[in-house]
Amino acid sequence: MTARRREGVPRAGLADREGFLAWAMLLPSVVYIVALVGVPFLLAVAFAFSDVTTGDPSYDFVGLRNFTAVFDDGVFWRSLGNTLLFTTSAMVLIVVFGKILANILVADFRGKWLVRFLVLLPWTTPVALSTISWLWFLDSIYSPVDWVLRRLGLIEGNVVWLGDPGTAMLSVVLVQTWRLTPLAAVIVMAGLVAIPRDLDEAARIDGAGFWRRMLEVTIPLTLPVIAVAALFGAIMTFTDMTVSYVLTRGGPTHATDVLASWAYFRGIEGGDVGQGAAIALFLFPILLAGAIAILRAVRRLEAQ
């Protein structure tokens, strides 16, 4: 045995054992998910049935009291509605703009590196930072957007973007769209690049114009990828509170409160951890349903 080893007969090392490798590779992410997603999730479920507050962290089971209190609060329903509106409109815009930007990203023209850089910029800027610059952009007095519109003669006085419920929601949706469009664009671009170039050329030769090629060849072939981009956009919007928190702090009068921000205001700033957890739990089933629905759509498309 030892003699044979000395002769240099190759042996399977630790790195050749796939079972061991699988565990070694998976373990860090399993630990990460359990510690940072699993445990907090269970903690939130536990808190939702308790009377824990920031002032009194002792755990007492109170049954469904937090949920009835939340349901009786009109702000909860308003923020639920806001969340759905915010998510759907942002998702639609993200997908549409993402698709357009993806087409620009794959196009070949002079100076495309600059355009690519600019397109990806919003995504690489930290959210809080970019949202603060948007705060200035949409300022009630010093807004450069208003200044331009005034100079163009499109508006009389300043639009108070973040002060009016309608324009506040619009602003939040637009900033969120601006922020996530590059991600969608990159995802859709990956799909576009995967389409064989022959197909587009064949369609050209078959006499199809731009729109026919787009609608009958490119979009059907990238639908699964577009669905993935939509899923990402929806989930990242649904669970996001940064934009509305920094821009409007949920105001005016809860017009831009979403579930995540309302849970935060209630649970952390208001101190009622139990109710905050109960509100936050509402994110979960809707997200789950949405994720399953879109993944199913993707699988059906792939099976086609």
């Binding site: 050329e201 064949a202 369609a203 050209r204 030769i205 060849v217």
Partner: protein, 357 residues
């Protein structure tokens, strides 16, 4: 009936955009002054090694590439700036490029819908094309449910439905296995004779080219080396490139002073098999023999004709002269089978007398 013609066609590709802008840059001349015309109803084959520009030429005719210089004419009109769809061409891609999301029927009808043909026309044409190519039962399938040969027929049917001025085929057989290829080649030829449309066919396979083409254009490095019927390019190659590219094994070339003397392997025969009134004899030191489908391929070094050169002789099964490796043997070529090339330029040159009957 329409013809396709290209005049002084040049196509260059920039190697690297940024480097070219700085002045240097490696510019590839994919087409280097190509003049070529396809007659009405002709089957013209573009033949050449990979990278010779044959596909670029086809794509330039299709309008997928824009020529750097020169003109493309279809039906006597310059179509240089025109997009592919107004050129009335149909192209079959090497990959067939069927739309994977559409059924066979939708694939075939796509060009008709693009030109907004009436619905009845769409249906009747689709049925006609499907019947002609024998894919009627497959109309409701998706491309991925088809075999390679079936896909190729669908691609042909799609090309066929709108009465193109010219068919452009880019190596349509290269994705088929060897057996399918032979039958598909036969079908392609019969099909083209049936519809009578001018066809330009790109291939690197000389067997396909010889079998299908009315005329063959041999390309190398973006230039047309020779255009001619299969018999012409085989028997009378215009230069040493054509001589050695066509034929398997290729033409033997032996240097003699400032000439290269060329002869096909099947014309180099044991001396007693060549009539002795007009023959050139030489000695062959046999080195190796191969027995291939009835023929004997004899590898050896020829002496006495010019410089000592390795050549190949192909003896048909009817010649039974015993030949063994390691021996020298008298061989001869009929004098009218010799071709002469300029040793420097490689082009055809006048014959020089070889005084050894």
């Amino acid at each position: 009936m329409k013809t396709v013609e290209v005049r002084e066609l040049v196509k260059t590709f920039d190697g690297h955009l940024r480097r070219t802008r700085r002045g240097g840059g490696d510019v590839v001349r994919a087409l280097d002054g190509v003049n070529l015309a396809a007659e009405p109803g002709e089957y013209l084959v573009l033949l050449g090694p990979s990278g010779c520009g044959k596909t670029t030429l086809l794509r330039t005719i299709a309008g997928l590439e824009h020529p750097t210089e020169g003109e493309v004419l279809i039906d006597g009109q310059v179509v240089n700036g025109l997009p592919p769809r107004v050129r009335q061409i149909a192209m079959v891609f090497q990959s067939y490029a069927l739309y994977p999301n559409k059924t066979v029927r939708d694939n075939i009808v796509f060009p008709l819908r693009a030109e907004k043909a009436p619905r009845e026309t769409q249906e009747s044409k689709t049925r006609w094309a499907a019947e002609l190519l024998g894919i009627g039962p497959l109309l409701d399938r998706k491309p991925r449910q088809l075999s390679g040969g079936e896909r190729q027929r669908v691609a042909l049917a799609r090309a066929l439905v709108r009465d193109p001025a010219v068919f452009l085929l880019d190596e349509p057989l290269s994705n088929l296995d060897a057996k399918m290829r032979a039958t598909a080649r036969d079908e392609l030829k019969r099909f083209q004779e049936q519809v009578g449309t001018t066809t330009i066919y790109v291939t690197h396979d000389q067997a396909e080219a010889m079998g299908l083409g009315d005329r063959i254009a041999v390309l190398e490095k973006g230039r047309v080396r020779q255009v001619g019927t299969p018999v012409e390019v085989y028997d009378d190659p215009a230069d040493t490139f054509v001589a050695t590219f066509i034929g398997s094994p290729p033409m033997n070339l032996v240097r003699r002073d400032d000439r290269l003397v060329g002869f096909r392997p099947e014309h180099l025969l044991p001396v007693e098999n060549v009539p002795h009134d007009a023959r050139v004899t030489m000695d062959l030191r046999v080195e190796r023999m191969e027995y291939l489908s009835g023929d004997r391929h004899v590898y050896g070094t020829v002496t006495g004709l010019g410089e000592d050169t390795r050549v190949i002789a192909r003896l048909p099964a009817t010649i039974t002269t015993p030949i063994r490796a390691g021996e020298a043997h008298g061989f001869a070529v009929a004098a009218d089978r010799l071709r002469f090339f300029d040793a420097e330029a490689g082009t055809r040159a006048p014959a020089v007398p070889i005084g050894k009957p």
